[in-house]
């Protein structure tokens, strides 16, 4: 068992516990957001936002922000990624609101352009680093699918702050957010905020995705914001049961995925996604079974 070795060996334990704590914090806010993402059909927007982060990674390394392991580098990288992803989220929302423009077209364009841009910029940053001798940008594979090596206690702290922030904001706006999520076109007629809730949710999603990207990768991060909610909604139709199940699914999927990736020496993204996908398949079976029992 490599997992136990990693978490107990005096040389490795600190680095790997940072990964576990980061993963747990991410699982909590991703699980909470995933219910809203599934119900409001924001999965594809999330995908667009996380891919925009790839362009952000490329730009950050090209202009020399984010290289190295210090807190300054971490904050610099975070700032560039946040700018990219928030711009993508709000741009997609803005395009989607204008009648005539199709949201999925907008996302398709933003997603592809960010990926192309990120690839070109990362290549360029790598070539420059080789010439100047400055720290090389991370391997593209790690950016796409996530990596354990780049995650530090700084990232764990960042994930914890994000977790507190996202869950705190969701708690504060739980009533208008719920009303908006259930009946978007009607809530304003009742004096509840409507469009402001959409923008707030997209911003929370953008921030959460950016914090997740380093561990789970640009391509697979959104799975954490979709699969837990999808699993929970298969199994229950009581709001707080669904939220609880989504949180539990995200935590189990994250820890299981970390074990898989430690054992198989895989990137974290694929490990987490495969574990969550397996849980979803089981939930499909259980959901179908209980429905058959219920109908006789």
């Amino acid at each position: 068992m490599r997992t136990i070795e990693y978490l107990t060996s005096p040389d490795l334990a600190s680095a790997f516990w940072a990964v576990v704590v980061t993963g747990l914090m991410i699982a909590l806010f991703a699980g909470a957001l995933s219910v809203l993402v599934v119900v409001k059909r924001l999965a594809f927007i999330g995908q667009g936002v996380s891919h925009a982060a790839f362009g952000g990674v490329g730009l950050a390394y090209l202009i020399g922000v984010g290289a190295g392991n210090g807190v300054g580098a971490g904050l610099g990288l975070l700032a560039v990624l946040l700018a990219f992803s928030l711009a993508a989220a709000l741009g997609i929302a803005w395009l989607g609101e204008r009648s005539g423009a199709r949201t999925d077209t907008a996302i398709g364009i933003v997603l592809a352009v960010s990926m192309a841009l990120g690839f070109v910029l990362l290549r360029e940053a790598g070539a420059r680093a080789a010439v100047t001798g400055s720290p090389a940008p991370p391997a593209i594979e790690g950016v796409l699918f996530g990596s354990v090596a780049s995650v530090s206690w700084f990232d764990a702290g960042l994930a914890a702050v994000t977790c507190l922030g996202v869950l705190g904001v969701l708690f504060l706006v739980r009533r208008p957010m719920l009303f908006w999520a259930f009946d978007e076109r009607v809530c304003e007629a009742f004096g509840a905020p409507g469009n402001r809730m959409r923008i707030l949710l997209l911003c929370l999603l953008a921030i959460a995705v950016v914090v997740t990207v380093k561990l789970a990768g640009v391509v697979l991060a959104t799975a954490l914001f979709v699969l837990p909610g999808a699993i929970a909604l298969r199994l229950a139709d009581r709001l707080w049961v669904v939220v609880g199940l989504a949180l539990a699914a995200a935590v189990v999927g994250m820890l299981g995925g970390l074990v898989v990736s430690f054992e198989l020496d895989l990137q974290v993204g694929p490990g987490v996604v495969l574990v969550l996908a397996g849980m979803y398949a089981i939930a499909l079976g259980v959901g179908a079974g209980t429905r058959r029992l219920a109908t006789g």
């Binding site: 719920l178 999520a181 259930f182 007629a189 004096g191 509840a192």
Partner: protein
Amino acid sequence: MPETPQPPALEFHGVGYTYPGAAIAGAQSAEAIRGVTLDVRVGERVGILGPNGGGKSTLLKIALGLLDGYDGEVRVFGRSPAQARRDGLVGYVPQRVEAELGFPVSARQVVQMAATVGVPAWRPSGAGVRARVDECLEMVGAADFASRAIGKLSGGQLQRVMIARALAREPRMLMLDEPTVGIDAAGQERFASLVERLNKGLGLTIVVVSHDLRTIATSCDRVACLRRTLHYHDAPGGLTPAVLAEVFSHDIEAVFGEVHIDAHAAADCDDPSHQHHHGHHHHDHDDNDHECGGGHP
């Protein structure tokens, strides 16, 4: 002009609205309504009948304070529509297809969403809110299935929950949009008697907007027919078979005979006395000028 003891529940004076250019691609004209003058008094049950695309939802949105930039004047209980919305004076029952029925909430939670609008986040929804939610569910006969998931209700049950939600903020007027779409005959009868109960029992002013003549005939005392502008207003003495026949023929005309209707509307303006045949007689103020002036600038 005699003094009115209290302002009408809903006043439209020469109200027009044109959607901005790009909003409706390919449409010849984006004008939704024009020269609409309407006067709903407190305690009345008024139906607004019109074909799909006739401007009914535009009229509703303006009354609910959701659409700005209209011409003319709109007052809801003497206030601006936006103010009336903030004050929770108007309960709104939308067409049911608009809500997210896959959402994991119970009927009770749906009513509670409206009951807790404006309650600060740090304050738990207390016993007062819970009592109000139960009262609303009881009023519409939805107490039996209050804890069932919203997606598992029948069309009629869902509609009652939507009405309970509209009652949650203790409004003085209910506006219902196509309330009987997808509801069976028995459900429609229950709906009509519920509307009567809310109207007579609670003194709620009722405005029903529908393309379905039967819905309006069974639940309202007065009818206005809307196809861009109001073609007919008032049915004094209730809906007699003769009045129904006239409204019905107007509806047919509105759907099939645009040219004829426009000529008819113009004739109304040229000859105000013509309108009095249609029953414009018990208004406190003469709004014929508004209607004609707004309709044909």
